[in-house]
């Protein structure tokens, strides 16, 4: 009897120890991804990138010996779903969340600030870069606003007819993501002698853009920027071809990747796009880790720039988790502080180096414009903008 009791005590002690240790050895991170919603075409590879980098980190010992537990959900690009997923994650006491869309990230910003949980978004909305308003929001890329500025700068250089200003049309989705960079784009166009001749709104899940394209045709546009995801961009391009339009098309980074020529076929030819992250397989030092992981784990999969984007985002926050852990402050505030110590943090060329300070959450201001040539993405030029104070949070 006595033996039995002590044996039980031992088992219980071990169980307590084991669970106690398991808790101590784990860092919980939330993932709010779009795997089935209207942006799932680009949301899935992004989520895959984040998951793979977490798996790689865990296989190499995690965050200073602590394993990362990624609790991820599919929110279907629905704001209410994201809010309820966030509530569940808060209860799980995650130290950080890697989210996705603009609308949901903006919807969550007040919760995030209250709960002090650093939040990485797939959205690069300029609104999220001012720490005075959104101290816990981060993303790894130049903002959407800098991206549209880069593309407009390309338009200005590409426009040869000096007798009149180039006419640019803006196509965007009827959601926060679609509208995010438009104010910045309009202002930048005005300053640089570019005429915004037309703006067309694309409803969610639209199936054809005929009436929008006809409208644009009537108002005339030499160039047009499309701010929806790849599937939508390809619909617009195909519609434009069917109507015989000669407008030169450009796309935001979520509509432009290796996938675009595959989906839009020949209509993608000559289309320009903003690429804050390099295409998969580009010869940069940072790509080796991705390719090794790819060969070891899923050699038959195809990857694109969206995958690189998810990977890069996770790379940055894993680094911050490590720094926060070393400082002994592995909690929301600690991770935020660690993120704000990053200065020219090098991602091996996957995207431009990242710098955050407590007064400026613009990770970088350098972005590349690419063009589709013979079905391949070819870099046209890099554009860098000064960190103007008045552009913060725009």
């Amino acid at each position: 009897m006595h033996l039995m009791r002590s044996a039980m005590r031992l088992v219980m002690a071990m169980a307590v120890l084991a669970t106690g240790q398991a808790v101590a050895q784990e860092v919980k991170v939330g993932g709010i991804f779009d795997l089935t919603g209207i942006t799932s075409d680009v949301g899935k590879p992004y989520a895959q990138g984040v998951r793979d980098y977490v798996a790689l980190t865990n296989s190499k010992g995690g965050v200073n010996g602590k394993k990362i537990k990624l609790i991820d959900v599919d929110y279907g690009y629905k704001i209410p779903e994201a809010v309820s997923a966030y509530k569940r994650m808060k209860e799980e006491q995650v130290v950080l969340i890697n989210g996705w869309g603009t609308g949901d990230t903006l919807a969550l910003k007040n919760f995030i600030n209250e709960d002090k949980i650093p939040y990485f978004s797939g959205s690069f909305a300029g609104d999220l870069t001012d720490p005075a308003k959104t101290p816990y929001n981060f993303f790894v890329a130049p903002s959407y606003s800098d991206q549209i500025r880069a593309w407009l700068s390309w338009v200005k250089e590409d426009w040869k007819d000096k007798t009149r200003a180039p006419k640019v049309a803006l196509f965007y989705g009827d959601n926060a993501y679609g509208k995010a960079p438009m104010a910045a784009g309009r202002a930048f166009a005005k300053e640089n002698g570019i005429e915004i001749s037309d703006e067309e709104i694309l409803p969610p899940g639209f199936q054809d853009a005929n009436s929008q394209l006809l409208n644009m045709k009537q108002k005339g546009a030499d160039y047009a920027y499309i701010n929806v995801t790849t599937t939508g961009v390809s619909l617009v391009l195909k519609g434009a071809k069917a109507l015989g339009l000669t407008t030169k098309w450009g796309s935001n980074p979520y509509g432009f990747s290796e996938q675009l020529p595959l989906v839009a076929k020949e209509t993608a030819e000559g289309v320009t796009g903003v690429m804050p992250h390099v295409p998969y397989g580009t010869a940069v030092p940072g790509m080796k880790a991705l390719e090794d992981f790819h060969k070891a784990n899923h050699p038959t999969d195809n990857h694109d720039a969206m995958y690189v984007r998810g990977w890069a985002s996770a790379t940055v926050w894993v680094e911050a988790l490590k720094r926060a852990d070393k400082a002994g402050k592995l909690n929301g505030e600690g991770v935020k502080a660690a993120l704000e110590t990053l200065k020219d943090f090098d991602l091996g060329g996957l995207t431009s180096p990242v710098t955050w300070t407590s007064t400026d959450h613009r990770p970088s201001t350098t972005t590349a414009v690419f063009m589709v040539k013979d079905g391949k993405l070819v870099k046209v030029k890099d554009y860098t903008f000064p960190r103007k104070a008045e552009w913060l949070g725009l």
């Binding site: 795997l35 089935t36 899935k44 991820d72 959900v73 599919d74 279907g76 629905k78 704001i79 209410p80 809010v83 309820s84 509530k87 569940r88 808060k90 209860e91 609308g103 903006l106 919807a107 007040n110 919760f111 009827d174 959601n175 926060a176 509208k179």
Partner: protein, 347 residues
């Protein structure tokens, strides 16, 4: 235990609770509900709140569809009207919640009456289609009246306030929602013991006959729309307070379909059924989620499949209920109760 129907007076026939035992059970159940926040984790409390909200909305819909026979696919839009009324009143004009919640109900009732006017001429399928149109028109209005509603980006709602009283968290909100739900349920139950309620039922069973019998069909149809929309508006108001940020995405057409599913599965024309249905339809995806999260470690593909599994199970539940238990859970409940009433001497 009783073993049969022994009603000797009309009062007994009309009583809310058939026996003292039933009344005692109800009080016990209420006590359990009151104690719930002290045991439930935040996750379950969140679900409990959503169930209360769903119950109010489902009862509202059942008053219109189950009791009065007017099919409505516009419930998501009416829910949105209630929620946005609250958001605008509380967010922009700092109206305290004891006014904002009933105001949301009243505004929704008015909107519901406007869209109920076609019910004078339209019946069955045609009315369903008209309310479907109402859904899209209201949705368009909300997402385009940006100065008021915040458009597609949504609108934030502050915590419910009344003077110094602040309902700061889900737990406190639960204690606000529970009495509201309980009193609305009691009202609905009593409604069908009155002349108005009987008129509703008469219209459902045969509108032309009831008109011949002296029921002012148009007036009562409008009244049904008003009462039903009031309920839905109150539900919307609570939903807004709980969500703290709402956008048109909170109210897609699938919400209306979910609510129709609740009253179909629960039982058309049954208050108890609305409650059962609301609980079932709200819990179903959450239980599925628990299962998929538990299995997600071994089957990562489940995270992606969850959305379709949820949709499929919902559809399947409705189809199976319609085929095998068209009278809903309420009917099944009565069957079970009657079985035990006579146990073990049932014939």
């Amino acid at each position: 235990m009783r073993c049969g129907d022994f009603r000797e007076t009309y009062a007994e026939d009309m009583a809310l609770f058939e026996t003292a035992f039933a009344r005692r059970m109800m009080f016990l159940f209420l006590a359990a509900l009151l104690a719930l926040p002290w045991f439930a984790t935040g996750f379950w409390l969140d679900i409990a709140l959503r169930i209360l909200i769903a119950v109010i909305a489902a009862v509202g819909l059942n008053i219109l569809t189950g009791f009065t026979g007017q099919i409505s696919l516009g419930n998501a839009a009416f829910l949105a009207v209630g929620a946005y009324t609250t958001a605008i009143l509380a967010g922009r004009y700092h109206v305290p919640f004891p006014i904002a919640i009933p105001a949301a109900g009243v505004v929704t009732a008015l909107v519901g009456m406007v869209f109920g006017v076609p019910s004078l001429r339209l019946k069955g399928l045609y009315l369903a289609v008209a309310t479907l149109a109402a859904h899209f028109v209201i949705e368009f209005g909300i997402s385009h009246w940006e100065s008021m509603t915040g458009g597609v980006n949504g609108i934030s709602i502050p915590s419910p306030r009344a003077g110094p009283l602040v309902v700061a968290n889900d737990k406190q909100l639960y204690y606000l929602a529970l009495p509201v739900t309980a009193s609305l349920l009691l009202f609905a139950r009593n409604l069908f013991r009155t002349k108005v309620g009987k008129a509703f039922v008469a219209i459902r069973d045969q509108d032309i006959s009831s008109e011949v019998m002296g029921v002012n069909v148009f007036r009562y149809k409008l009244l049904a729309f008003a009462v039903s929309s009031f309920y839905v508006g109150v539900a919307g108001s609570l939903l807004a307070y709980q969500a703290r940020i709402i956008s048109p995405e909170n109210f897609p057409i699938t919400v209306a379909i979910d609510q129709l599913g609740m009253i179909i599965i629960g039982g058309l024309g049954s208050i108890l059924g609305s409650v059962f249905g609301a609980v079932f339809i709200t819990l179903l995806p959450e239980l599925l989620r628990l299962v998929t999260t538990a299995l997600a470690d071994s089957f990562p593909a489940l995270t992606t499949l969850f959305a379709s599994v949820k949709m499929g199970v919902f559809g399947l539940a409705i189809v199976l209920f319609l085929i095998f238990e068209p009278d809903g859970m309420a009917a099944r409940w009565h069957t079970i109760k009657n079985y035990w009433k006579l146990y073990p001497f049932s014939y």
